[in-house]
Symmetry: D2
Subunit: 163 residues, 4 copies
């Protein structure tokens, strides 16, 4: 079973959190590969995936346009029917990170994905729309890493259960 | 296999579209029951459901507060892990029906549901966030009925496939 | 010149942040009154206001339904043409506070308000959609208080400039 | 007094609706210029504007990434304090046009704009988040043109009133 993580990163934070999620997925014995939108994607691998997670930095209180650009233009990776998830990094609590996540959730629905975050149904940490890490709010960024790994575990568990 | 539809209706349009969806679900030999938020819900039935669809009229360009009230207050129906979907009725194209749907999608994610619309992945009719019927735009309301039934079929097919 | 703050509070945090905003408004010599949705509102006062700010706790990753209920039902307070703003309290960074704010922003637009946050245009603190205070993320809640006061000052300055 | 309209168009519909809005603005004796994101923008003109309206086609149920790209990258046009508005074109009622508009509204707030649609406060046609034209729903596209002109008039009136 395979899962992919597609992200855009500018300063490296979104990539680092993608790696945290990957740790959680690997711990469930699922293969996972990370794809930066600055590199060539492996369409064959992504088509084989049962789930794809999208990561974005928060710019102007929404997702980075590079993520939406890929989701708009992509014709070669079939997303319909796969499990979909989202995460975001941001500077501040009021920075718009869940608006960023929800802007991608709407697209994933349009692509026919089963969108899943685990929400508050799996106990703490509650991960409402998707995990968020804030790099300018005290030690939030470092402390959030564990939540991203747990998100990876939960997403992987759901994939194992469904597919 | 059971599916539930929970809706708030004021003038009856949202209920009528719930019935259209139910037709589609029944055509796949899945049991379906409709619950108006003005009546007593059957928690046992809803807990047995593999999927729940939420319907709302569009008021002030968002979902009706009665739907969010139920989603906020409900402790007895477990939503986590179930398939979730949304639909809306509205007067006008610019009335905010997708915003209404997305306002519920965000809550369903928080509740741990697998949110699904079929999107554009299943061909026409494309149902991006969920089906919409407009009662003050020419004949849209009557013509949209078929799309609601198709949404029910697609939602039912996905439930059969997953559970 | 008068400004009003309408909020729903459950545990008191949203009220406390409303008071912080009021401090900022008063510092610009504008009259300000706070209205909890649990109390009787003063429609005459609110109709005299040049701006109204709405505050909500974040529940299930959106605004509390009591705020939307009031915005849906209210016929006696004319909102059109007034300056509008929003703020939210939440527990966690990933709790949906911006989604809560944006869910109200959409309604305020529908009511014909001029929606304003100051954004990043006025320098730090950047207040994207509106100020947010998180009570379960370290010391964020206490530290955020100053941002709420600054939001009040900026909102008041804009009101003085426009009206 | 000057107003600008910035839009991205693929097949020409968004441009055509921008022109409809411009008619409404011109009828109030305000200068208006249209800028396609495929062309060079006139930063001096835009900086002189008291208001800027953004137009987008709806792709994957959100705004086109080209609009968000410009809003993310632009450093030379100062948006803070200006009146801001949005409109969208889409194929279908369930296509996500108000999600598209709201995705831009969130950015305009972050840029410090006064976001305004007129809403339902000015009587019919009610223009909730911004005007919408659907080209695959009967005759909606042609019939919507008048609403776009009215939106231009309302936006212009508000600019005259405020600045």
């Amino acid at each position: 079973m395979k899962i992919g993580i597609i992200y855009y990163t500018h300063g490296g934070h979104t990539q680092e959190m993608a790696e945290q999620i990957a740790e959680g997925i690997k711990s469930k014995d699922i293969e996972v590969r990370l794809f930066s939108l600055d590199d060539q994607l492996d369409d064959n691998y992504l088509n084989d995936c049962v789930g794809i997670i999208f990561g974005t930095p928060t710019y102007v209180a929404t997702s980075h346009w590079r993520v939406v650009e890929w989701l708009t233009s992509n014709k070669s990776v079939k997303l319909g029917g796969k499990l979909g998830g989202c995460f975001a990094t941001a500077h501040y609590a009021q920075g718009g990170s869940d608006s960023a996540i929800m802007s991608i959730v709407g697209v994933l629905l349009t692509k026919g994905m089963l969108v899943y975050s685990g929400g508050a149904a799996l106990g703490k940490p509650f991960i409402h729309h998707g995990p968020v890490a804030l790099d300018a709010e005290g030690t939030h960024y470092e402390e959030a890493k564990k939540m991203f790994t747990i998100f990876g575990e939960r997403f992987a568990n759901k994939a194992l259960e469904l597919f």
